[in-house]
Structures are given as C-alpha cells and as structure tokens.
Amino acid sequence: MAIAGPFFRKLLLGSLLLILVAVVFLDALLTRYTAQRELRSVEQDLRARAQILTAEMQDLPPEALAQWVLEARSRAGARLTVIAPDGKVLAESDQRPDLMENHASRPEVKEALAGRIGSASRYSDSVKREMFYLAMPVKPGAVPGQVLRLAVPAEQVERAVGEVRWRILEVSLAAAILSLGAAFLLASSLNRRIQQLQRFAEGLVAARFDQELPRGPKDEIGALATSLNGMARQLRDMLERLRLEAMRREAILSSMVEGVLAVDHELCVVFCNETFARAVRASHPVAERLPVLELVRDPALLEMLAKVLVENEQQKRRLQLAAAEGRTYQVHAAPLELMSGRGAIAVLHDITDLERLERVRRDFVANVSHELRTPLAAIQGYAETLLDGGLEDAENKRRFVEIIKAHAARLNNIASDLLALSELESADAGPPPEKISVADAVEAAVTAVESEAALRKIRLHRSAGSDLYATANKIRLEQVLVNLIDNAVKFNRPGGEVWIEAARLDEGKIRISVEDNGIGIPSAELPRIFERFYRVDKARSREAGGTGLGLSIVKHAVERMGGSVSAESQLGKGSKFTVVLPEG
C-alpha cells in the first residue's frame, strides 16, 4: 500500500500541527502558572523571614548592624542589605556597603521606603546573577525609615520551574506521541479505504466489473463503498445486456441476405454488414466514419441517401449498381435516429435473379407464341395457296405439301419438347433411376447424331470407360447427351471436332463433358442459355432445326436425376458443357 499519498500526508501533517500547537500552548500555560506559584511561595517565605529579622532589628544599635547582618545571613539563607531612608546602604551581608551605590531608585526599595513591602526580580550588577529581591521597612509606620532587603538568587525559582517544565514536557511529549500514533492509525485506515475506493473506481473505468469492495464500517466511506458496489453490479448488467444486444444485432446483420448500410448526416459510414461490403467489393469490417464515397461511388445510391437526410422520408428505388458488377437491387432507404443526429439507413435487396426469372417468364410467353406462329403461318399460307388453285399446279403442289409437312413436324417437335419439359417440371418423379452404363448411353447418343455429324463433316471423339455407371434414367440421360452432342455438332464449323468424355470424380460422382471447337457463346449470353427459347443466334438456331428448348430440357432432366450441368465457353473458340451425375 502506498502510504505516502498526499491525502495521508495532509491528514498526518494536520494532526501533527494540531498536537504541536496544543502541547506548546499547554506547556507555556503550565510553565507560567508554575513560575508564578513558585515565585509567590518564595516571596511568602522571604516575607516571613524578613518579618522575623525586622523584629530582631528593633532593639539593635546602629553600630552592631554590620555584625548582625553577617550573623543573620546564614540564618536567613539570603543576602541581607540594610538601607538608610536616603537610599544609602548601611550594611550588607555579601559586600562592602561603602562600595555600593545608592539604592533609593531600586523599585523594591522605593516601595519599602513608602511603607509597603516591595519585591522585584532582576539581574544584579553586584553579584552578577539574576536575583529575587524583597524589601520591607524595618519599623512599620516610620516613613521613610530604614529598609531591610533580602535577596535570593532567582535560579531557585528557575530551578523549580525548570523541574516542572521538564515533567510537563515529558508528559506532553508522551501525549503527543500517543495522539500522533492514533492519528497515524486513523489516517492510514482512511487512506487505505479511500485508496480501495479509488482502485475500485479505476477498475470500473477499465471495465473490470467482476470486483467487489469489502464491507467496511458503516460510516460515510462505507456507504460510498456500498453505492459503488451497487453501481458496479448495475454497470455489469447493463454492459452484458448491451453486449448481447450488439451480438444479436451483429448476428442478424451478418446473416441477412440484404446489404445494409447506415450513414450519419455527413454521409459517413456508421455501419454496414458483410453482404453490403461484399457487394461493393470492400473488405469487412469497414472502418467506422469512413466517408461513404470512399466505399461506393454510385450516384443513384448516394443521391437516395442524401435525399433521405434532407427530406427525412423513406425512399424506395430499383438500382443497378455499377460497383456491384451491374447487379440490380431494390433499395429501401429510411431516416435513422443516431446519437450524433440524423442519419440514413439503406437496405439493398439483390433482385438480379428475381428479375431474370421474371424476364424468363415474360419471354417464355412471347417466345412460345412466336415459335408457334411462324410454322402455323407457313402452314396456313401454303394451305391457302393450294386451295386458291395451287392444287392444279402439278409442278409445285408436291413441294407445297412437303413444306406444310416440314412445318407440321416442327410444330410437333416444339410440342413434344414442351411436353417433355412440363413432364420434367411436374411434381411426378417419373420412372425411378437405375444403374446405367455411361458408355452405353454415350454410344446410343452418338449413334443418333452420327448422320448429322457426317453431313457437316464433324468428327466425334468419345472416351468413356466401360466400368463407369451412373444412377440415372436411361431415356433421359440419352436425351441429355443427344441434345448436347447435337448442339456441339450444329453450332460448329465444317470440319470441326467434338469430344465426349466421361470420368469418375471423387465422392461418388460421374462427370460427362461434351466439348467442341465451334463458334462459342458470348459471355453475356452464357448465363441465359438454359432458359426456354433462349437463342444466342436466332436465325442460325432455327435454320439448324432447333426448337430453342434443348438446353432447357438438358438442365431440367439432369437436375431431375440429382445432378448438375454447367457451361463454359469462349467466343470463337468453342464451348464445353459438363454434366455431373451421382455414381451408380
């Protein structure tokens, strides 16, 4: 324990000063009192002796005076002086009277000459020491008459006073030491308790809430300790609640699929969640009070936040964020009450996929009508031509009927593809999957497209181990492979090549890939190729006899069999489709 605290020093110094003043004061008082008492007793003593001596002197002849003085000196135990009424020294016990000066001016002699008893204490030139004098008229009533003066050394009084003073000093010193000890104990106890409180308070500042102050005496400091203990408990509870709250908030924010961004009135980030940081490709966590401009520069989003701050009203808008690779967001922005004033919070809901689905649905209706109308228009047109006299045109009627037949076949293809799709999409699981030889399925698919490939001078390479088996549906798997290989052949250049490969992946999966070195697919269109009726090059697709549903069927069929399909492509270099299926 650091004892030399300023508080402790002050307390101790204060009591020391107090004790010192008390001792000095008491000492002075007692000394003075003792001195007076001692003086009085010496005076009384001298007076009694003087009275006896003056009585003796009544009958003394003047010539015997010198002798008597010498003789009486030892009896009196004091120096004796007899002084004439004019102040002349008549007789003196310790000195030759004729050498002494006139004593009329001495205060005690003056008094005695006036008929009273006089006393004084002073330094004597004759004997060179402090003396106490008492003078008395020899004959009371004879004014002025002879005076007898007794003198004793004052040191007698001093000695008595000194003796008493030493005792007083001893006692008061002992008292001082005792009270100083008591003061020390009290001060150090106070000091210790206050230091305890101080350390406790420092602990609170440093957020150590697990400490508790010992229960002390029930005084003011004890009460303070009790309040501090209560305060610490409350702080602990409050902090715990706050931490839980923050954790909960953090958990909610980080698990949200929506991006959340909150800014203050100066457009500085208050917080943002991981989703938002990821969307704008910033590292999370984002530094607090970062100007939002340094995080995202999209004018529309900034404008929205600024508008919320100014108008204090909710805003809702659909934005395409260039910063987030052009993804589309439904953004809700609302005012936010912050400790530092007004703020704004924006919640960004990624609706890119939703928008895409919406567009797919919209496009599907338009596409299906368009796909059906084209052959129907042709059939109707040629049928009308035939009716309007074409039947008589022997040269062309067969060609017209063949065109009608081709378009009817096309309609049929579309209808069966649509049926296949709807069957795949329906809740009905269809035939149960079985163990299928991948090599057999590839072989069957290759056989189906071989003639078309030969026509376009495209070489097919296949490598599928005979030991590879997939859990699949035979008809669907063959259809998937036919569609993929057919595409690889059709969207190729004359003399192109197609590779069909199958291999076993880890964790019980089979991978079948169909790769070509054909015309490829632009990257912007790649995500859409599995959509129904989506065509990269519409004219070319139709010319090749496609319905625009092939890849859509592939995707649905593969997913139906518990697998997945992916595509990669480089424009002008070729495409690669990969089907992954569970192993049989």
Partner: protein
Amino acid sequence: MRHFIEELVELQKELLVMAGLVELAVHESVQSLVERSHNRAQQVLLNEAKINQMEIRIDEMATRLLATQQPMAKDLRFLTAAIKINNDLERIGDLAVNIVERALSLMDQPPIHPAVDIPRMADLAQRMVHDSLDSFVRRDADMARNVLLSDDAVDNLRDETYQELVRFMQNDPPAISRALDLVFVARNLERIADHATNIAEDALFVIQGVDVRHHAEARG
C-alpha cells in the same frame, strides 16, 4: 493549415462524385449497346454535361490550391494526381458518349452476330476503371498494380475483336458499317482501359511517390 487539409478532403470528395458519374456512364453506355436501349443511351448523353461541369470545377479547385497553398510532398503528389485523374475521368466520360453514339446507330439496324465478345471486354474495362479508383481511394498499391497488369488482357481482346470483325466484314459486305461500329466500340473500350491504367499509375504515385509511367517492369 487545417483549412488546407479540409480543402483536400473536399477535393477528393468531388473527384469521387465525378468518378461515380463516369463509372455509371461507362456502365450505361455498354448496357445501351447490349440491350439496344434508347433510354439508357439518353441517360449517358444527359450525364455528359454534368461530368464536364464537374471537371471544370475540380480543375479550378485543384489549381487554386496549388497556387495559393504551395503544398509539399504528399499533398503536392495528391494534388497533381487529382488533376490528372480528373482529366482521365473526363476523357472516359467522352469515350462512353462515343460508345453510346455507336450504340444508337446500331439500334436502328438489324443486329449482327460476329463472334466478338464486346460485353467481356466492357466488363474488363469497367472493372479496371473501378479498381483503379478504389486503389486511389484506399491507397492500395497492390490493387493499382493489378490494374496495370490487366491492361494487356484488354489489348489482346481488342486485337482478337479486330481480326474477327475484319473476317466478318469480308464474308458479309452489307454488314460492314455495323461491324465498323463495333470496331469503334472495341477501340473506345480499349482506350477507357488505358485511362484506367493512367489512374492506377497516379494512385501508385500518390501512395508510394514512385513514378511508374513508361516503366516496363511495373507492367509485367
């Protein structure tokens, strides 16, 4: 002195607002081309005036600070970089307008399908603009260096696009004017990427005080 620092912060803010507008312009110009959207094209043309005004304002601000404050070391580097980035951004805005003009011309004609990947090139160029600005804002030297490295990829793509379009024009003479539009789009995208590398160089200059312009080793 505190006043000066505040002005620098304000300058960076203005520059970033302008950067946001320019990035949007590039994005919308490419989208207008891909989606054949008149709406988006108009948006870019409307934005152009705003970008030009901002360029003048930022230029005045930076020049005034240079003249009156006589900045030293880091602040001087920042100011000179800001002036250059401002210029690059304005040029990128102009190039976006060029792309929009080509897009508008293509919109009124039947689409052609040469085997060129304009969107991929556009993505790369946009990414470079975005990253170069981010590297400047975050003072991220690695990011800036990556931008310098991706310039080659854009150049390669442009060369491939040129070759493919030349082949396409030889086979389909009626489509020559439309294919030429695409040639110009590719050229504009490549130049946008060049300006992005300029910005990345300026960012490196601000961060490290190193001039990396025309240094082959920094470009890898």
